[in-house]
């Protein structure tokens, strides 16, 4: 057991830190859930990509540095420490890309990964439907063979697609075998959002911004080379994304340790009020516990193990820690917590609103608790 970073890791950290301190915009970018903010964040992705910092763990040929999971965690620590912008490409680079690297054809990887890494093509996720949320296997959007061509015609409705209002591409799951039961007969598709038959209806969130959207598919033509993995295996392909989403790649611990460190600063500025001390300490310790758990898991991954249903425990923990950090911050801000700065929520209020989505997206925490009970504790399915 060695919890120190070696010289090569420290060198990597120093390089990342130096680059970030030279390049991170001094002023925060406008919200990425607005048209202007979206483009500003896209430019930032291009800046990252130009110096190979957008996807450090990817193979070099697709724009990465081919570094290991520890370097990725180090980069994330530095990224949050530098208070760099949110990642507008996160659905693509963190959720789709690991799946594509595992299941994609060489041609798909070559076609899709570099523009994804450069921020030229932003991806949204088309999984949930009005009647398929927690019960994701209840998907009804369907794909039928396109009689006239070598591909498929997609019909149906997807919803809660983050970045859906502005994205160029969508990765979605459609039913290709209407006779198959639930988890079978699903297929994973890659769809251009400007295809004829795609209609996007932005959905304003509780902060008023259009962070997500509904997507309607009306006979949308896609080619066979836009299927990821084999036809009919969409569920297992999708679950590898779901594992990434709940597990290591979506929510790096730096996000929480950085927020917890700022929470302690806020606590100091507020004069260390005794009534908040325990909540501040709890949030601070939980953020650190999450960081340690991540390094624990990453060490297993580095030794060739895979992340299993523990990713569900992970998702419960990071999402609830995030809510706790921000709730505590609002308590410290007291009567100032509700103030909008220049018409927008301040950083903590904005973070609080975002944190509230955490226990809902990526599979509700109730579903995750079922997974923990059934797959980690062996309880019978209900």
């Amino acid at each position: 057991m060695d919890l120190t970073f070696d010289a090569a890791h420290e060198e990597f950290r120093a390089e990342a830190r130096a680059w970030l301190s030279a390049h991170v915009p001094r002023e925060p970018l406008p919200s990425l859930d607005t048209a202007v903010g979206f483009e500003a964040h896209r430019e930032w992705e291009a800046t990252l990509f130009a110096d190979r910092w957008s996807v450090v763990s990817w193979p070099i040929e697709y724009g990465g540095r081919d570094v290991g999971i520890m370097e990725w965690l180090i980069f994330e620590e530095e990224y949050y420490r530098a208070r760099a912008p949110k990642r507008v490409s996160q659905n693509g680079i963190f959720l789709l890309a690991p799946t594509m690297l595992e299941y994609g054809t060489a041609a798909q990887k070559e076609r899709f990964l570099p523009p994804m890494a450069a921020g030229e093509e932003i991806w949204c996720q088309g999984w949930s439907e009005p009647d398929a949320g927690s019960d994701l296997a209840g998907i009804r959007s369907r794909a039928v063979r396109n009689d006239g061509g070598d591909g498929w015609l997609l019909t149906g409705q997807k919803t809660w697609a983050s970045r859906g209002a502005f994205a160029e591409w969508c990765f979605g799951i459609f039913r290709t075998d209407p006779a198959a039961e639930r988890h079978r007969g699903l297929t994973y598709f890659l769809i251009a959002m400007d295809s004829p038959g795609v209609t996007v209806r932005p959905i304003p969130q509780i902060d008023g911004e259009t962070g997500f959207a509904e997507i309607f598919f009306d006979g949308v033509e896609v080619l066979d080379n836009q299927v990821l993995g084999d036809v009919g295996t969409g569920w297992s392909v999708a679950m590898s994304t779901a594992g990434s989403e709940r597990g290591l790649s979506l929510r790096s611990p730096a996000r929480y340790t950085e927020a917890a460190a700022r929470l302690v600063e806020l606590f100091d500025q507020a004069g260390r009020p005794a009534g908040s001390a325990d909540a501040v300490a709890r949030a601070y310790i939980d953020a650190e516990a999450y960081r340690l758990h991540t390094y624990w898991t990453a060490s297993k991954v580095a030794r060739g193990h895979t992340v299993g249903p523990e990713s569900s425990a992970n998702k419960i923990f990071w999402s609830e820690t995030d809510v706790a950090i921000h709730e505590t911050a609002l308590t410290l801000l007291g009567p100032e917590a509700e103030l909008l700065e220049a018409g927008s929520p301040g950083e903590w209020l904005d973070g609080y609103l975002f944190s509230l989505a955490g226990p809902i997206y990526a599979g509700t925490n109730e579903i995750q608790r079922n997974v923990v009970a059934e797959r980690l504790l062996g309880l019978p399915r209900g």
Partner: protein, 372 residues
């Protein structure tokens, strides 16, 4: 960065786990609870011999002094397994606290004699006189009218050959003594967990037994408090794991409404909550062991984090396990109470969760969390 145990460490843990499962199944724990005082002493001696044969008590003592010369990272798995078995003997006090402390004070004659009692005579060491609160360690040791010192809640006095006792004088500060059992008057204390051996010990203050005083003693006490927090965290992780397993097993068996109660979401979610809390207490507990083994500057904070997380995880596991068992869990006949009672004791020993959160926050400004 390699946050994992090596093969020898995994093997040591497995060896201890199997030995305890074989020689100290829950039926033996029940017998121990219900045995006469003499019967208990006999059973305890037999178990201690088994632990001694594995080298567990002297695990942190250098090989040159007759120990195994291993580290806190090796010990943490052993303590976790002791927790899983709800081992009554003072392994934490002996192996994690007293023995390594005595080894650092060699060749002082009182330290040498105490280590000999441990390693040659196979007698455990008792520890007392240190409490942990929001201002750090304090001592419950007082001076009696007859000039003897009086230390309440000494752990392990019944079977120990030597007692490691601390006292703190408002003027002269801390003193640490290694007192032979025969020099003391021992008054057993009745406690809820009948397998736990607590006593009030009256002992004579003597230069012959002095191990350290002043600044040196204060540093020793501080390190013992850290090891006490980190070591009891490991014990609690083992206890929590055991209670969650007991409750999950019961939920698979027990039928209501024509199906196992474990198929109901209300029951699943209780157990999932306990399992998640345990999942995140574990790495923090192992990190505290590593910080002790490598004398990190953050060791006190790391031990406090571990204890805060493990105390809460084990307390929740106890509550959930009881609820899942329902009325049967509230009976003497059900094994669960042995593990709950040890949890309730250890979650508060060496500082409870809230105390350690307070201690972490007090240091949060000085030691930034993220690397900077």
């Amino acid at each position: 960065m390699d946050f994992a145990f090596d093969e020898e460490q995994d093997e040591l843990r497995q060896t201890v786990r199997q030995a305890l499962a074989r020689q100290f199944p829950v039926a033996a724990l029940r017998e121990f609870y219900e045995a006469s005082p003499d019967g208990r002493a006999t059973e305890a001696r037999a178990r201690w011999s088994m632990l001694s044969a594995l080298g567990a008590p002297g695990l942190l003592v250098p090989e040159s002094a007759g120990g195994l010369g291993l580290s806190d990272v090796d010990l943490v798995g052993v303590l976790e397994e002791a927790g899983r078995a709800a081992l009554p003997e003072p392994l934490l006090e002996t192996a994690a606290l007293a023995a390594p402390m005595l080894a650092t004070l060699l060749p002082a004659p009182s330290a040498a004699a105490a280590l000999a009692a441990l390693l040659t005579d196979d007698a455990p060491l008792a520890v007392g006189g240190i409490d942990v609160g929001v201002t750090g360690p304090s001592s419950p040791t007082t001076v009696s009218a007859d000039g003897m010192l009086r230390t309440p809640r000494v752990v392990g006095a019944r079977d120990a050959g030597v007692y490691l006792l601390a006292a703190r004088d408002p003027d002269s500060g801390w003193q640490l003594h290694a007192v032979p059992a025969e020099a003391c008057a021992v008054h057993p204390t009745a406690v809820l967990d009948q397998a736990r051996d607590l006593s009030t010990v009256q002992w004579p203050l003597s230069a012959d037994t002095l191990l350290a005083y002043g600044v040196a003693a204060e540093a020793s006490v501080g390190l013992m408090a850290d090891r006490g927090a980190a070591g009891s965290a490991a014990y609690l992780v083992g206890l929590a794991d055991r209670m969650i397993t007991l409750a999950a097993d019961y939920a698979k068996e027990r039928q209501q409404f024509g199906k196992p109660i474990g198929s109901f979401q209300a029951v699943k979610h209780l157990l999932a909550n306990a399992r998640v809390k345990l999942e995140f207490a574990r790495p923090a507990t192992y990190r505290a062991a590593w910080s002790l083994a490598t004398a990190q500057p953050t060791v006190s904070r790391d031990a406090s984090m571990a204890k805060a997380l493990a105390s809460d995880a084990a307390d929740l596991a106890a509550r959930v396990a009881l609820q899942v068992h329902g009325a049967i869990g509230y009976t003497w006949e059900c094994d669960l109470h042995f593990f709950m009672k040890r949890t309730w004791a250890l979650s508060r020993a060496w500082g409870d969760a809230a105390t350690h959160r307070h201690l972490v926050l007090a240091q949060a400004r000085r030691a930034p969390l993220s690397p900077r």
